[in-house]
Subunit: 194 residues, 2 copies
């Protein structure tokens, strides 16, 4: 039986979420893997009452956790989503897969460092400096900005590293940031070789 | 031996991160638990070379994962952080704890629904409507906004629910949002009773 890969990422929020999933699954198959796509694409079902909305959410959550349980590998699209960091749903799934001792792979279609991206969005109006003249990495609310030459919060790349997985970045046009599959395909090649 | 609780949350980025950790640990002790605070408060160490920065990041990541491994419970501060969602480091840790079958507890000091918070930050200039006249929940980039009457991405509250844990919200003044411990203490009481 071919190894299965859970396809985590914020593309479930795209208008063509299903097509994106199909494209990823087709690539998986080309490399000899079986792709498992999350159920979040049921988002577009008509939701009327609050009780029904929550019941649907619980069903999607349980379904996705089950898919991760049965997968051998997770490939997480960690491209920034509505801010400086990756989509929290994807990050939760990456952590879950780590706890279940799966193979962890991740990619981001934004090669900028986390510190630069965070500063671009949340830097104070005037930079602050310490007694040595070094810039203090702090946002406009006085909260520390991680400065580790990584691409997001250290737990993310750190977890992938602890799992002896692989994290890649790839530069794309802004419009293709959530959909470009070059880095995704590079990770499939990495899997074949490892 | 008393049950131990991993204290996940973005307060590690506060200028008084250590004091916040001490306050949480003291509360844990008062309820008969032992609190484990993440190592991210080493953030303020002077970091010079890129190699050293990454080595420090890997050490913090490995240390935090080890603390989560040894904890019986995680209490995650899921208050929004630099956007509509919780801190991704905290969310990764929650997922990891779920995969390790720990008791999952979480709180947010922002009681607003995720859909309302996301719309407040990312709604298009003009709302869009479907053929039935219902508003289409879509952000200004055309990405779907989750509308499940939950407080963040559904995987978060969904995971806590699957683990039979507890998620609470509490309304605080903006300035106390990351530091108010009312909901945290309520979860300690919940733990004592369950």
């Amino acid at each position: 039986m071919s190894r299965s890969i859970y396809l985590a990422g914020p593309e479930v929020f795209l208008p063509n979420a299903k097509e994106q999933g199909e494209a990823k699954k087709a690539l998986c198959q080309r490399y000899g893997f079986s792709g498992l796509y999350p159920l979040d694409n049921e988002l577009d079902e008509s939701i009327t009452s609050s009780q029904y909305a929550q019941a649907l959410a619980w069903a999607i959550s349980a379904g996705n956790e089950q898919l991760i349980q049965q997968a051998d590998v997770i490939i997480a699209n960690l491209t920034p989503f509505r801010g400086a960091s990756a989509d929290v749903g994807t990050v939760y799934e990456l952590g879950l897969a780590r706890g279940l001792n799966k193979t962890l792979l991740g990619y981001s279609n934004d090669p900028r460092l986390f510190v630069d991206r965070t500063k671009a969005l949340f830097a104070p109006a005037e930079p602050a400096f310490d007694l040595n003249g070094d810039e203090i990495m702090m946002d406009r609310d006085g909260l520390a900005i991680e400065n580790f030459e990584l691409h997001d919060n250290l737990m993310i790349e750190g977890g992938i590293r602890l799992a002896q997985g692989c994290f890649l970045t790839h530069e794309t046009a802004l419009a293709e940031r959530l959909t470009d599959l070059s880095a995704f395909e590079a990770l499939l090649r990495w899997l074949v070789e490892h």
